[in-house]
């Protein structure tokens, strides 16, 4: 177990900054998930922590000790890779104990630890088989077993579930979460799948363009995005964004004729000299038959049901916005969309930073 600190960490490939001045503290036993689009630098950060990638500048500290100059095998880490990296010529049992043998553990110790992980991962029947004979999900399970078998200080996981089919992925995700809490091992997990991040993380580190955008608990990240990027990246369908233009009595949405009443816009926004963009999540708009208090009358374009939820789209000027209606009594025939004022977020349209969310000024 260890506390991991990244201080002004940068990794450059020639002129390209893959990781740009990243600062982060991962507490002992914490489960931190790096989330972001492809190529945002999350995997490179992980590889730098692992020692598979040299940091161009900045420090990596384990429990306060700088470990930049240690090789991957000297750092007490374990890693599971995106693509299966089991040794194909070794049996499952030999694969699992490889790190123990490589580090010269005693025979009895090796046997005891093998029994222990085989028990945890229910791999008893597979121990004598070879990786080539196993389905991808089981292979990753073995890779995970190999990672935890020697009590690493830090467990690094690079999109470990992305090569596994949907059904098994769900199951593995659940088991992984449990296992991490049980072992209490400091874990850094990289993924581009927000559902994975949301369900596993103690804290999510959202990255974009080689930089950290927001570090927060999953709940906060969803409800208090600090920027347009956070708001749009988290949640599906994406957050709706509309420009606000001051007019008498309120703000016009985009180039539509819809005017947002002044009283539901926070003071900071009202007094802002900079152009403001408003974000509202699809879950915070719903279909209504009668004009609501904070509603807008719009043309509902399309409605389709997915289970109990109804997805619909509506026009705000030239732009199409989306909404999800849960347990609504509306027939959907109406032309009204109600907005939940608490769900409004306001951004500086130039920097993308949040100015305010309804009621809570920043």
């Amino acid at each position: 177990m260890a506390k991991v600190e990244l201080k002004n960490l940068s990794v450059e490939f020639g002129a390209f900054k893959a990781v740009n001045n990243v600062n982060l503290t991962v507490n002992d036993g914490e489960f931190v998930v790096y989330l972001g689009p492809s190529g945002c630098g999350k995997t490179t950060t992980l590889r730098a922590v692992a020692g598979l990638q040299t940091a161009t500048s900045g420090d990596i500290l384990f429990d306060g000790q700088r470990i930049n100059d240690q090789t991957a095998s000297e750092r007490n880490i374990a890693m599971v890779f995106q693509f299966v990296s089991l040794y194909p010529h070794l049996s499952i049992a030999e694969n699992i104990v490889f790190p123990l043998k490589a580090r010269g553990f005693k025979r009895a110790e090796i046997a005891r630890k093998l029994d222990w992980v085989a028990e945890i991962f229910k791999l008893g029947d597979e121990l004598k088989r070879f990786p080539g004979a196993l389905p991808p999900g089981t292979k990753q399970k073995v890779a995970l077993a190999r990672a935890v078998v020697r009590d690493p200080a830090v467990l690094l996981l690079d999109e470990p579930l992305s090569a596994i089919d949907e059904q098994f992925r769900e199951e593995m995700r659940w088991e992984l979460g449990h296992l991490q809490r049980e072992l209490g091992v400091t874990t850094i997990y990289v993924t581009h799948d927000q559902r994975e991040a949301m369900s596993l993380a103690d804290r999510i580190v959202l990255m974009n363009d080689s930089q950290i955008v927001q570090v927060d608990e999953p709940h906060n990240l969803f409800f208090n995005p600090n920027s347009i990027f956070s708001g749009q990246f988290i949640g599906s369908p994406s957050m709706n964004l509309m420009d606000l233009k001051p007019v008498s009595g309120g703000f016009r949405l985009g180039d539509s004729s819809i005017v947002l009443p002044e009283k539901i816009v926070p003071d900071v926004v009202r007094n802002s000299a900079i152009p403001v963009r408003m974000g509202v999540r699809p879950r915070d708009v719903k279909l209504v038959d009668e004009p609501p208090e904070f509603g807008i009358e719009v043309a509902v374009e399309d409605v389709f049901s997915v289970g109990r939820e109804r997805y619909f789209s509506f026009r705000v000027g030239d732009e199409i916005a989306q909404g999800i209606d849960v347990r609504s009594t509306s027939t959907g025939q109406g032309r009204n969309v109600a907005i939940r004022p608490e769900g409004l977020v306001f951004f500086d349209s130039q920097t993308g930073n949040r100015i305010a969310s309804k009621g809570t000024d920043v």
């Binding site: 089991l86 010529h89 790190p99 190999r146 020697r150």
Partner: protein
Amino acid sequence: MTLTLNQTNKPLVPLKKKSSGRLMILGFLSPTLAILLFMVAYPIFSLIWNSVHQFSALNLNQEFKYVGLENYTYLLSDADLWQRFIFTGKFVFVCVSIQMIIGIFVGYRLQRSFRGRDLIFTLLMMPMMLSPVVVGFLWRYMLNSEWGIVNYLMSLVGLGQVNWLSQTTPALFAAAAADTWMWTPFIILLATAAFRGIPDTIYEAAEVDGASPAYVFFRVTLPMSAPVLFIALILRLIDSFKQYDLFFALTGGGPGSSTETVSFAVAKRAFNYFYTGEASALAVILLFIIIGLSMILVRHLNNMGEKN
């Protein structure tokens, strides 16, 4: 019940008569078969046929006399021939082990891309493109005890002159050196390809797992590339076992006949002494040894195919 099933098992498309299909196959195969029969089956059959007769290709008036296995029993009881086998075995062992070790080591060094690697590979390939006879003569001149460059270089560092080609053991090592110079690149090439076939993530996993470079090499790199290295080994075994032309040019089999390989002995019996029957019998023995080695290779290749 309006539904009726067609009970006759009549295929929708009528089958062609079987015989015409077979004729067609035979028709297409016959040119190849004819060539194969003429070029492979006939020579082997005549080789075996000759091996149980006593005759000389030079003197066809002499009786083509059936002697059964007499040629074989004579050869196998010939102490000098056993010496040829022992010498060949020594040569094969020295050659192949040196080539494998150097080849694997250099191949391991060359697996990472660097500037000029392709050029190095091209240069390494060049000896392989030469004829063994040419290589033999080249080394013969270099190893000449009076004006050869090898002894000259040795004299520069204060070492004494060696009569490389007129003593059995130095000649063996000289031939092994020439063969190694020529064929190690082949192993390097195959070994590099095998090493490069191992995904980077495997190495990264091993590094994270705390394995030292030596541990990785012996426990990961070597076992994972063993199938390819094994093929290289068998090919080199077969090839060096039937080495003839290199010795022909380098030592001429001398001193005496002490650096003659088994192939050399066959050629000498067949084309110097024209003991055609006896040479055929020896060729058959050689053939069986090489077939034995080839079968290991073929079986191994088949196993590899099944695993993938």
